[in-house]
């Protein structure tokens, strides 16, 4: 583990500035102030190193392309950070595509599980664990649906989805049939959550469009064959599975009021956006209005997307939405919303007004402008420099290999984007100055976030379409402190999904919710990470469990990993 408190190389620079100041203070006040601010800014800025090459990860995404331009080739696939063996460090699950007509791989592409061996090394344990689903996969979500203490994996496919139950001995069993969750529509993403707070994880599957490989329409522009857009296909309904508590699920889509056959679901996220202690559901649709299903607290939902202001853009039009992400950008106690969108569409930023309405601050936040020229996919908020403000990472990449012929100013591979939170509801685009990990230009799709080296900062796993993934290690150097808290539910679901933790440290009061799924089409480390600036102690920690139990803890020392067990307090692993 690297020492986060080691001297920064910028300290020398700082000292030099001090000498400079003492000598020419009166003459150079303005210049010195500028230099000081520059130094502080650079010091705080996140830095990422591409750590893939020696990690042992040799996974490569396959999309089955053969030149037939099947629509499903373009969406890529996701990955998950989760501690499948409960050994204290997070492992990786990669979702893969499959062969399509016209393509026969020598080795059948399958999903893959990489065990984290520590020291930045991973080992492929797919076969031992029996999780090599060969379906044409897109996303995965993780949650302990049977409350046995070991996280299970749900994979959405083009075709029947798959549920792997974790046996707790390093192996999994395909429990799809038994659980009754093998929805056969084109699942783009999924997320577990206990929407009825009965202690068992339910599951929402966002389905995309009606497509069949044997009826693949031809599309193109200026004589160049391209993949068709979503407009060429009919939408389809998504599915809400309610966990019966006996290892099976029932389809409650219509009963719960979330059935809509016009949807073209890409991303899904659960979040208690209205602070009423139950999880609401947001579904990002492709070129169809997005849905914000407010949990009515009685097992049903009401779509308030249009009236709340998050269903459409300012023009009243639907964007090609990909990933929805909730996060409290100004630490005011209300979750705000970002949705990644297609190229020439800005990533939408909706500020939660706290009264059931959202205000569109896309351009005011300064995220809108820089994202117009990128095709954005997976994203999430995370405090990447531990300064107590959540930053935003966005994975980008076009879906047409020959897009440069259609638009000479853009490219198929694109540089991912990092937006640094300034603390005033605006962000700085620091993509070009955040280390070599951010300078890569690839065809990115998924992004999963987690502290894989347990050094107190958030690393990022980026999946790339028809390419190898990138493990971006967070090598930010500063003195900022942190807390990472894992949750174990006892009355609530065992994963603690939906648990809200609020940490007060110094002047900041931050909240996070444990979530499954989220960033297109990936799943992040479920341990909650808090950057705390220079605070040595968190004065107050509040944990609100889905069961309704609220626990309070005071004066918790920072720079620690903690486990919160419902009703049993906080402890170190």
């Amino acid at each position: 583990m690297r020492d986060k408190n080691q001297a920064s190389p910028f300290d020398e620079h700082h000292k030099a500035n001090s000498v400079f100041r003492s000598k020419f203070l009166k003459e150079c006040v303005i210049g010195i102030v500028f230099l000081c601010f520059s130094a502080v800014f650079v010091e705080a800025q996140p830095r990422f190193t591409n750590a893939t090459s020696n990690s042992g990860i040799n996974f490569r995404h396959e999309d089955g392309r053969s030149g037939a331009f099947y629509f499903l080739e373009t969406l890529g696939a996701g990955a998950a950070w989760f501690d499948y063996d409960q050994d204290g460090d997070i492992d990786i699950y990669f979702v893969n595509g499959a062969d399509l007509p016209g393509m026969e791989s020598d080795v059948t592409p399958t999903n893959a599980l990489y065990r984290n061996d520590g020291g930045g090394n991973f080992t492929d344990v797919t076969n031992e664990a029996s999780v090599g689903d060969p379906g044409y996969g897109f996303s995965c979500a993780v949650g302990d649906y049977d409350n046995n203490g070991f996280p299970d994996i749900y994979i959405t496919n083009f075709g029947p989805n798959t549920l792997y139950r974790n046996n707790g001995d390093g192996t999994f069993t395909d429990a799809t049939m038994q659980a009754g969750v093998g929805d056969s529509l084109w699942g783009a993403s999924a997320a577990f959550a206990d929407y009825d707070n009965d202690g068992y994880l339910d599951l929402f599957v966002a389905n995309y469009v009606q497509f069949a490989v044997n009826s693949n329409p031809e599309c193109g522009a200026i004589g160049i064959r391209t993949h068709c857009g979503p407009g060429a296909f009919q939408g389809t309904a998504s599915v809400l599975y309610r966990n019966s508590g006996d290892g099976t699920f029932t389809d409650e889509t219509e009963k719960a009021g979330v059935w809509n056959p016009d949807g073209k679901g890409m991303g899904v996220i659960w979040c208690d956006y209205d602070n009423d202690a139950d999880l609401d559901l947001f579904v990002a649709n492709d070129k169809v209005e997005d849905w914000l299903y407010r949990n009515e607290g009685n097992g049903s939902f009401k779509d308030v997307g249009l009236t709340s202001g998050v269903a459409l853009n300012e023009m009243g039009a639907a964007y090609s939405s990909m990933a929805p992400v909730f996060g409290d950008i100004d630490n005011n106690g209300w979750f705000d919303l970002v949705i990644t969108n297609f190229q020439d569409e800005p990533n939408s930023v909706y500020y939660n007004d706290g009264d059931g309405f959202f205000s569109d601050i896309t351009y005011q936040s300064k995220i809108g402008g820089p994202t117009l020229a990128r095709l954005a996919w997976g994203a999430d908020f995370a405090d990447l420099d531990n300064d107590s403000r959540i930053d935003l990472f966005v994975a980008t990449g076009h879906l047409e290999e020959k897009v440069h012929l259609l638009n000479p100013t853009t490219t198929y591979p694109q540089q991912n984007q990092l937006f640094w939170n300034r603390g005033d509801r605006t962000f700085d685009d620091v993509s070009g100055s955040s280390g070599d990990g951010l300078l890569l230009k690839k065809v990115s799709r998924g992004a999963a976030f987690g502290d894989y080296d347990n050094d107190g900062d958030i690393d990022i796993l980026v999946t790339n379409s028809y390419q190898t993934p990138d493990l971006l290690r967070n090598d930010t150097v500063n003195r900022n402190r942190w807390l990472v808290i894992a949750t174990i539910g006892t009355l609530s679901n065992r994963s603690g999904i939906g648990t809200r933790i609020t940490v007060t440290a110094g002047e900041s009061k931050q909240m996070r919710e444990v979530k499954s799924g989220g960033s297109y089409p990936s799943h992040s480390d479920m341990r909650l990470h808090f950057g705390l600036g220079e605070s040595a102690f968190a004065e107050h920690i509040e944990i609100r469990w889905p069961s309704g139990l609220v626990e309070h803890f005071k004066n918790i020392e920072t720079n620690r990993f903690l486990i919160a067990t419902e009703g049993k307090g906080l402890k170190e692993p």
Partner: protein
């Protein structure tokens, strides 16, 4: 010299491309074509004229420019490019060639090329404000806000100078936000874009300043009020927001985005009822525009797809937007001159526009290409009937009948317009083909049970069949459904008179008929006859004289007058 060529070109095109652009203002936010095409343009004829002009004057810049415009109108951007490139080849210093070439690239979203061409255009004429503006728009579409701001600022500065050449620029059919290409170059328009740039940079206050300037300098643009409304929404200035958005809607009622934002402003204030009303209006407009945009997308993806253009035209026809429909039918025909349905559709569009001769030509072309096209025959009949009714040309009337008959003969299950059925029914009635006539009127009543006319003619038909009770019933229905129908009153009165029943009622009915239609000689004649039957010769004479006054040469009325006068004499003798 350059300017004069440029302006003369514009002048010549005012009836077509440019004038339309000037009229339109900035393009609809949601759908570029929603507000376009308010004038009628003969696209194919324009092209033919332009080609002829080029053949006659191969070295004329103006001729090639017009050819380019004609191709642009038809959506053939590649050919337009060639035409404008020819202008440049003929005169490398002609800014108009560069400018319009840039415009064509812009319309195809080839912004790198349009930027390059506009820059070259400005090398030739650095003080050309419109080119700076167009360059700004190209940069804006490329999200190069810095360069766009510089270009717009230059345009604005130059617009203040009276000697700066002005030049309209074409609209855009592209881009998701649908800003389009500004049409009438004005400082307001440029301020609008400067505001957008500031807004995209997150500088909302600066944006609001620009939009306020746009309003100050005018003319009023719906887009400016819309953006101001959105900005006020963000600032929580609900009153200002509602005011601005209402103004946007006043300027352009079919602007879905303005209704959406207005709904948001109302809902945020707790004005739920008003908010929901606006939301419903928004949804209605959005559905329509979404469908239209989907078709435009298809056309862009397959520019030679005549059938897609044809479908779009039909969509306009359903909306009774005949100008837009005629344009799309023409584009379809340009891509496929043998698309018989498009010829017929164009005929319908012209008919809707009252251009009967052109409509007839289009239907005849359809029949020529497909002689068994029943719909075209019926449509042709309808046009001829309309023309006959306008000019009372008997030949047209007969040709109409012939066309109707041909259409029905070709397809007995054809869905025939009511107007046609009514005409056919009358014709059959006149010819004594009572069964056929009855069928037509009954079919009308199936579609429109409240058709007073159909009941009226059925009454006449029943009289012919000597089924007087039914005739009385039908006339009664006709009067009930249309209490202003003088002919129904007159015929019922006549029926009672001829059967020798309800004579007093008959007189009252006839009096009602003449009241309703005091210029109807027939009504006066019937009234006269009924008075005569009641032996009220004085009134009979007065009535028939009124009929004769209206139709002095009517032999029947003259004879009637003689009979009445003889009767009066006989009565006097008897006394």
């Amino acid at each position: 010299m350059i300017h004069s060529i440029l302006y003369s070109s514009i002048k010549k095109q005012r009836s077509a491309w440019c004038l339309r652009l000037i009229l339109i203002g900035i393009i609809g936010l949601y759908c570029p074509t929603a507000t376009q095409a308010r004038d009628e343009v003969d696209l194919i004829k324009n092209l033919a004229d332009a080609k002829q002009d080029v053949e006659a004057n191969p070295a004329s810049l103006e001729a090639h420019l017009n050819l380019g415009f004609a191709y642009m109108e038809l959506g053939s951007m590649h050919r337009a490019e060639v035409a404008f490139e020819t202008v440049i080849r003929l005169d490398p210093y002609a800014p108009s060639g560069h400018y319009w070439l840039g415009g064509v690239y812009f319309l195809q979203a080839k912004y790198e090329k349009s930027i390059d061409v506009f820059k070259r255009s400005l090398e030739k004429l650095p003080d050309w404000s419109a080119a700076h503006h167009a360059l700004g728009m190209s940069y804006f579409e490329r999200h190069n806000h810095e360069a766009a701001e510089i270009a717009f600022s230059k345009a604005l500065a130059l617009m203040q100078k009276s000697d700066s050449p002005r030049y309209e620029v074409p609209r855009s059919s592209f881009r998701s936000r649908g800003y389009g290409w500004s049409i009438k170059l004005s400082p307001a328009n440029t301020f609008y874009f400067l505001g957008l740039i500031a807004s995209h940079r997150g500088r909302l206050d600066r944006a609001v300043t620009f939009w306020r300037q746009a309003i100050e300098v005018g003319p009023p643009l719906a887009e400016v009020y819309f953006e101001l409304g959105v900005a006020h929404n963000k600032a929580g200035k609900w009153k200002d927001s509602v005011h601005a958005l209402r103004e946007a809607i006043r300027l352009r009622p079919e602007m879905p985005a303005a209704h959406y934002q207005l709904a948001r402003a109302y809902l945020k204030q707790g004005r739920t009822s008003e908010g929901n009303t606006e939301l419903e209006e928004f949804k209605r407009l959005k559905t329509s525009y979404d469908q239209l945009n989907a078709q435009h997308t298809m056309i862009r993806q397959a520019p030679d797809a005549a059938i897609t253009l044809f479908r779009l035209a039909r969509r306009f026809m359903r909306q009774r937007k005949y100008v837009e429909a005629s344009r799309e039918f023409q584009k379809a025909l340009w891509h496929d001159p043998n698309l018989v349905e498009a010829h017929s559709g164009l005929g319908h569009a012209y008919f809707g526009l009252g251009r009967l001769d052109d409509a007839l030509k289009a239907q005849q072309k359809a029949i020529e290409l497909q002689p068994d096209m029943a719909e075209a025959h019926v449509a042709k009949g309808l046009i001829l009937l309309q023309r006959a009714e306008k000019s009372e040309a008997k030949a047209d009337y007969e040709r109409a009948i012939s066309a109707f008959r041909k259409g029905i003969e070709l397809n007995s299950k054809l869905e025939i317009p009511i107007l046609v059925r009514a005409s056919l029914g009358r014709i059959y009635l006149q010819e004594g083909k009572l069964k056929e006539a009855s069928h037509q009127f009954e079919e009308i009543l199936k579609v429109d049970p409240n058709s007073g006319d159909a009941h009226y003619y059925l009454g006449t038909l029943h009289v012919r069949r000597r089924n007087y009770e039914k005739a009385e019933e039908s006339y009664g229905h006709a009067i009930k459904l249309d209490p202003t129908s003088a002919k129904a009153y007159e015929r019922l009165a006549h029926l009672y008179g001829s059967r020798g029943i309800r004579r007093n009622t008959a007189v009252r009915l006839a009096q009602k008929a003449v009241e309703l239609q005091p210029d109807s000689a027939a009504c006066f004649n019937t009234l006269s006859w009924l008075h005569y039957l009641n032996k009220d010769f004085e009134k009979a004479e007065a009535a028939v004289k009124k009929a004769l006054a209206l139709q002095p040469n009517n032999q029947l009325y003259s004879e009637g007058l003689t009979v009445i006068q003889q009767a009066r004499l006989a009565e006097d003798d008897g006394k």
